[in-house]
Amino acid sequence: MANELTVHVRGLVKQFGDRHVLDGLDLAVRKGEFVALLGRSGSGKSTLLRILSGLDRDVTGESTVDGTVSVAFQQPRLLDWRTVWRNVVLGLGVNGKKVADPRGTAERALAEVHLAELADAWPQTLSGGEAQRVSLARALVREPDLLLLDEPFAALDALTRLAMHRLVRQLWITHRPAVLLVTHDVDEALVLADRILVLDSGRIIAEHIVTEPHARLRTEVLADLGVNESEVHVA
């Protein structure tokens, strides 16, 4: 079961004119695995995410995702004219599907991101961190098999970002989707992921397994700094 693949990509090529943004990329993400994808701007990170989320189908090569995909983008991308809880269940009532108790479902998802009290608020009244948590709740309420995180913490201040790391780690432990986190923050990748891939010129050029001692060290240092990560420490 541990070897079941959620993402399976082989020889993926994406061209814009003459430029190969993805150049024969291979990628495998196991079920429930947390992978961070690091790379400089223009390395093809966003393009890969767009392909995996089904937004870009004009590619050659093999790319399969087993199951439901959810994305949390860099911006929360909430519909301003819908209240928070309606934004959370945005993806549940599509294609004629009916949800038994949308309000209750939304409230449970919001409670997980500690925003239960904001169910009836308008998105424009939220802070950046709150909006991003709503976005996470919206992504997770679909119980995705693959959660794509497209630099979702880049626009947040440092303290909010640390709190978000902790929250994401908790949510991942609860729901156990495969996660592909795109970032250019090395520290972020080290704290969150089991495995780090480095993308350059449209190919994966390096792979690192994040070892337990490193994570523990970081946790300890952060604890010294007053950021308590004890609950999110994974065995």
């Binding site: 989320s53 089904g54 937004l55 995909v69 959810s70 994305v71 983008f73 911006q75 991308r77 519909l79 301003d80 004219w81 819908r82 945005l90 993806g91 599509v94 294609n95 308008w122 998105p123 424009q124 009244t125 919206r138 679909r142």
Partner: protein
Amino acid sequence: MSTSTDLLGRARERTASKDVRTPRRIGRWRVSALLRLISPIALVLLWQLLSSAGAISEDKLVSPVSIGATAGQLIQSGELGDAMVVSLRRVAIGFAIGLVVGAVIGIAAGLSRWSDLLIDPPMQMLRTLPFLGLIPLFIIWFGIGEAPKIALVALGTAFPLYVNVHAGIKDADRRLVEATTVLGYSRWERVRHVILPSAVPNSLVGLRLGLAAAWLSLVVGEQINASAGLGYMINNASEFGRNDIVLVALLVYAILGLLTDGVVRLLERRLLRWRTS
């Protein structure tokens, strides 16, 4: 005992302070609204004083009091009411036609690339025409009955609506569209839940501009070959040198325009309540 009283007291205090906040804000708003009335009232008083002192000739501009008296007579005789009904009917029919046409082609051009390519260029060209200058042409086409007046109102309404609905749809945030695509929305669902709601603020601007254009078109259109309505009343009064009746009719136009604008404002407040400011 004392703790519970304390708690009750505190609880009561909190509700009370919450209750106080709203009226105070409304109160402040009311005060500033009242303050804004000072200068208009002063101007009307000055006008009345100058008229009473004989500094303003009654032949050119009657006093506010006389306007009030004339308005009373016109209301009692039913003349004003009849004229209003005729004018309101013209503006209602013309505005409704312009609204539907402007919104429908705006949505079509906004949603489909081909419709945009075909519809937008002629619309942008026609928009530059001074449409009030089309009256002679409209008389040739539609005669001198109700049709040219209604057509003029419809035309005046359609353009601002088209332009703003079109722009509203074009400006819809692509990133929101993408987000819902990932959530599995079909094209129709994206249009219904993302693109059209995104266009609402702009469309309301179009609605207000369209309404203003409708009243303007009516005023101009009605003064040509009309045999009923406020414009006819103005023309008729002008021939007899009755500037009091002209002024009453103009005031009625202004009041009706303000009222309809108020309706759109209410609509805005309801539809855009999600906006923070």
